[in-house]
Symmetry: D3
Subunit: 114 residues, 6 copies
């Protein structure tokens, strides 16, 4: 695993733990809803993660993009499918998405061991 | 067809025609890219329209939401699948999405003749 | 009550009912978290509604603004306090907030029976 | 003048007056800064209004777009120049800008008496 | 003081000085309005800083969040109150706020010498 | 050239190349539209780059801001003109723009060899 992947995952885990320990009820329940949202239902988990990815990309949040790319990868979304998700984000969100697209592709390549 | 559906579609058609007649090259080519983006490729058109829908919802654009709901409906996305797309948008985008969710559901119901 | 206030409240109630009947679990639980968020805790409900108002205003959602103005009014937030919330939203969010500020003040005046 | 133009201008004037009467100091001073920003300086007023227009368009605020189109028109920005401003907004901001572009062109046409 | 706190504060001070030296009138006056906005009035400074914090969080600006956390801390906002501000931001702004929440909590802990 | 300038340009070039090699048609065509948008037409390239700059600034994308500052500089936009573009972005976009303004001015100074 490359260094952006590792740094992201260890920081995410450490801080999520810290946040949940603060014991704020709506925050804890929000995290529960967040997990529930991506569980397979009428749509399979794979489609839902792609939905999470495109939403993160048009809202331009690098960490959220990294997270959903990781999930998509685990659920066997192929690279050309991933780029089609990226293309929807780029068209809907505009050129302002491009810098996030660069970092997304770099993260994806690191994750693939390229 | 209900009145929000009709009003939206006739206005959209009239103004798109007006815009393309202005003959601005990047705008015309952008409209071409927009169409191309949703064509079936590695992902099918149905998945791509759901991606367009969730992206429109977190960016909170009622007209874009209406457009992609119409496309999803044509491509046989069922109501419970549509609501799962809505749930991803709500979780990612937050309660600020709720007023758009209300109008989305109203539009969907009108489209279904409910 | 003025007509913007009534129209907003009856539409909101009708559509929320319709959405919850769809029985999508993450959406229902999200609505639960939303309610919980504004309950008195370390901060009182009044402060929390003002926080909801300023957040709605910088994200520029008229319906969310109307909702939180109604709640603030019920919790005895005075008009000059409301305008200070507006001033924070305007400074943080910029002139793009002004059209929403106009509609917010109109809504507030209607609610006050002015 | 068409009806969207008139409705926008009379509402804007009425509510700005109401807001300034509330006598909130940062709001009043913000309105002063807003006026000052578009005065000719190193850049002429015409360029500045085009900057205000493109900024309003990517942030997707119909009223702000209408306002800056009116100002651009007064300062003799021609229709093909206006469409080039629109094209920058569309490319930077993405397809989510399209519904606002439709309303912008309709407003511009009304203003031109078309 | 931890290193994120120090780095943020010295950079902020250096660049604000540089910006104000450029002697652009609307920018200088905007900075004045910004200061004025958070002064005690109908609402106390503490409430206003919490309003600034929640607004910064839903707009997802890490530096603005850091700044308002520092101010809140100076004005004796307790950690559980701070987390309630965070919970409003999370509910209104959605899961896209989570990465900023992580960095906010890390900054807060550094500031508290944890 | 300073280190932020160099780091930005080499990363941008490397990743754009990588993205275009992926051979996704809408993405490639989007990049074409992006280039076309800033070519001189009814408006000159200089004005268009300033439009791109202000749009990037209100949407708060540091890399996009850096890119358009570089282009503006090549097209002889003077520093006081650049600051007037910044002032429009600040007024329209609000104080949330300030951290991006700091980094923009730092980038501009590095580019000018200050």
């Amino acid at each position: 695993m490359g260094k952006r992947v590792e740094a992201f995952e260890s920081y995410r885990e450490k801080m999520n733990k810290r946040i949940l320990e603060a014991d704020n009820r709506p925050i804890k329940r929000f995290f529960g809803v967040d997990t529930l949202t991506y569980e397979a239902g009428a749509l399979d988990a794979r489609t839902k993660e792609m939905l999470g990815l495109v939403a993160s990309m048009v809202l331009r949040c690098d960490d959220c993009i990294s997270y959903h790319i990781t999930q998509c990868k685990k659920l066997k979304v192929k690279d050309d499918e991933m780029f089609e998700v990226f293309s929807v984000a780029l068209t809907v969100g505009g050129s302002i998405v491009i810098p996030h697209l660069r970092r997304a592709v770099e993260f994806l390549d690191e994750l693939s061991g390229k």
